[in-house]
Symmetry: C2
Subunit: 500 residues, 2 copies
């Protein structure tokens, strides 16, 4: 595994240390999560309480319906400003540039050309009839072949272990429901892709226990925000001591928002930890083909010669990220556990996708020539160029950042731009960016324990990136075009719950 | 409203009366539902207990996960025989003919021609990106126009009241969750489309309270299985007396499996009843364009000049039935209640459909020329011809049946073919049909309180219908080709939970 991008981009000498004035550790307080610590500056874990900020209900809705609506309203609140003023090169050149949503906008030309080829428009009667809810067999066969090849599985993966459905959001929802009782929890290293909170909670009523990672580098062999088994052990023990039953571990690899990639050794350690505690492991590999740095070695969990606990290892993949089609709603589960796959399939009546789309996806995944010779090389080259540009800009701004050559984002350390190092300041900085017409995602949305981190998405066209980074620079240089309206800043104490 | 088809096909003189030996009414027993009665032959209502027959769990699943898997396994058990031996004109002419699943297989030629036209394959970047989870605005505009026209709304319906998602199964799941607390209930006239049991229960943990309808004709103005406000009142009171909180009423119009159509006056009465009790009303109109008898007047609830309680009236429609595309997964909600539509939209992350399909559906719904001049006339003519054929066959067999000129099925009275009039006998008869290579749906699957009713789907090609009805005739004449294997008959005490 090359550590080049990390070494290159991570400049700890320019980072302020952890500010001990931030949010002093308190045990089981009333905040959005309960946090426990050994020292004031060392939160080790948190038990998520997704509804801690929820206030009022609606008379026409159930109490859970009101909470579900509140999640929508909270997300909307942050995004409303953006949606009312989206950048458009021709129609709204002064609109807001979105460097907050993790979408790959670099390859619409390639995708559009492939998806409009004549082989895509096939309408068989069987595609219009009720399907096998696990997905049509022809598609599951194609997914098995595809994953065998790209995950480098030691033996061919089997179609009967595949379930297809309308995206990984649905898969989190289904897995939470079939693996956990109401109120039980999954363990997850934080910061993490914040939407998972809703995915496991809205239908499933499952919570997350955070194993907090931090930016401190503790030795020559360690990297910032490194996940260790010790951290997982401590979070698990902490949750158990509070009576929270943890049923599984969620790993995102490549990680969102860190861009981190687990080495083979690390992956094995985490899986062994899970096995020791009889935990299910959900491995989210939706960025597995978005490793654009050639020197980086990525290992899918499906490439392991021997899974420590195959019956409790469940792998998700989707086209949203790796094929830059989040609007296509296509995700897959791979699990050897037939009880789990059947239970998820039983819920697939509510997560089904069109037979026509199933046909199209089979055509796409089967077209290895196009994937290997056209799409992936071009996509990786474009991702790399965009990443290089944003990295360079951040270095010029003396902004330290983390990036390992995978994913669509850079995890940037703007802590020196907060005077007191609080999440309130982080929210204000997020708002200053928005007021200066660039949308970023702040660390709080990923349950980062250190205020001041931002996720900057770089997988966008050059002209939008240039404009976006120019606006970021203006804010950081204190030269933003617009001064934040004090009232609107006040209203925005809660930056958007970033969904994607 | 014409009563012609009903008068023609309903022959009460040939029906045995209600058999008082059947399943004597018992209050709160341990069966799949609790039933209360005034007299032994008069079950007035039932409180559904979807998991009453559930036995063992799986160690890798949560208890709810085990129940979810059990629903799949139960359905599979019944369908396994069918799926292993499906009829195919060329490859398996001795296979099982499916007259059990409510799908319209008459118009694949028309649909295939329309869906492969060049206007269907449009790939805009916005279609590949994260959508508005309520559905793309261009599609919601089209749905609003479409429903305004075909539901004959007095004023144009509004796009902001529309939510689109991947089918009505999902919509039932979402509405149950946002309107009810865990354990609360919806009231539904029974027999009803049995899959709703799962749709409201699997994720939502919501139960159904049945207002039992029966075949008895009590006066000149009444029809068999007629829904009355009195029956709704009694079921509601009964449930309340047991401490079951009812939050809404589900109406299916045209009704499945009865094929019944509510008159304007009836519709208003039911809505007024709901308003009196502050109940939400979910009106499932998925067969609204499948009224093939010209003399029948169908009134959508959206055609009313004034809804008694617009904030609590929620209307569902889908392409599954009316466009014969159950594999397309496209459903719509229309509600004026913004809290409800936002809460449902919030769950639409788990019920989303591809942007490409959204584009295609907008193209289809916008094409009124094709719908009005090609698809609907031809579809109705084919439905009517198929219906006429099966009706004639049933009359020749002296099988009484109900049918009002809408839907894909005939509700047939085979009670005289049961000697004791029990559900055990009904299950055995179902199995005899299956052993003779024709799949029907038995009344128990629709929570019919009278054993011996079967739903026969007629919306299939002539050669399959002929063969299917020939096999039905063989069983009823006691001349089936195969004698039921006693062991397999024993194994099939539970006929399939019919899903569709």
């Amino acid at each position: 595994m090359s550590t080049l991008p990390q070494k290159e981009s991570w400049e700890p000498t320019t980072c302020p240390g952890l500010d001990s004035t931030q949010d002093p550790g308190s045990c089981c307080d009333n905040g959005p999560e309960r946090e426990c610590s050994r020292k004031p500056d060392q939160k080790l874990y948190g038990v998520g309480d997704p509804t801690a900020m929820f206030s009022s209900g609606s008379s026409d809705l159930s109490s859970r319906g009101s909470v579900i609506k509140w999640f929508w309203d909270s997300a909307e609140k942050g995004y409303r400003t953006y949606h009312m003023d989206e950048y458009d090169e021709d129609k709204n050149p002064n609109g807001i540039i979105n460097l907050g949503t993790s979408e790959n906008k670099l390859c619409f030309d390639l995708l559009s050309r492939r998806l409009t080829q004549s082989d895509m428009l096939q309408v068989e009667p069987s595609l219009l009839q009720y399907p096998d809810w696990r997905g049509h067999l022809f598609l599951r066969e194609e997914v098995a072949r595809f994953l065998s090849f790209y995950c480098k599985s030691p033996a061919p993966l089997k179609p009967e272990n595949v379930v297809v459905l309308n995206g990984c959001a649905s898969l989190f929802s289904a897995l939470a429901t079939v693996l956990c009782e109401v109120g039980e929890a999954f363990l997850i290293p934080a910061p993490y892709y914040g939407a998972i909170t809703q995915h496991v909670y809205l239908y499933g009523n499952v919570r997350l226990v955070y194993a907090y990672l931090d930016s401190k580098v503790t030795g020559p062999e360690t990297r910032p925000f490194q996940l260790t088994v010790e951290k997982l052990e401590m979070a698990l023990q902490g949750a158990q001591s509070e009576g929270v039953k943890v049923k599984g571990l969620i790993l995102i690899n490549p990680q969102n928002p860190l861009g981190d990639i687990y080495s083979l050794g690390e992956l094995q350690e985490y899986l062994e930890f899970a096995k020791r505690h009889s935990l299910h492991v959900i491995v989210d590999e939706v960025y597995m083909l978005s490793v654009f740095e050639e020197s980086v070695t990525y290992r899918s969990v499906l490439s392991l010669e021997r899974l420590p606990d195959p019956q409790r290892t469940h792998v998700m993949w989707a086209t949203s990220k790796d094929f830059g089609m989040s609007g296509l709603r296509f995700g897959t589960l791979y699990t050897e556990n037939q009880d789990v796959s059947v239970a998820v399939a039983s819920l697939c009546r509510y997560h089904g996708l069109s037979g026509l789309l199933q046909y199209q996806m089979a055509q796409l995944l089967r077209d290895q020539d196009w994937i290997n010779q056209v799409y992936l090389p071009e996509n990786h080259a474009r991702l790399k160029a965009a990443h290089t540009y944003v990295s360079k800009e951040l270095r010029a701004l003396r902004v330290p950042f983390l990036s390992r050559g995978a994913g669509f984002f850079i995890w940037a350390d703007l802590r020196k731009h907060l005077s007191k190092g609080t999440f309130e300041e982080e929210a204000l900085l997020w708002r200053r960016f928005l007021d200066n017409k660039v949308l970023l995602s702040s660390g709080k949305a990923f349950e980062c324990k250190e205020p001041g981190w931002f996720r900057i998405v770089f997988s966008d066209k050059a002209h939008r990136l240039r404009l976006g980074m120019q606006r970021v620079r203006q804010v950081l240089d204190g030269k933003s075009q617009m001064t934040a309206d004090p009232l609107s800043s006040q209203m925005s104490q809660e930056p958007s719950i970033q969904h994607e």
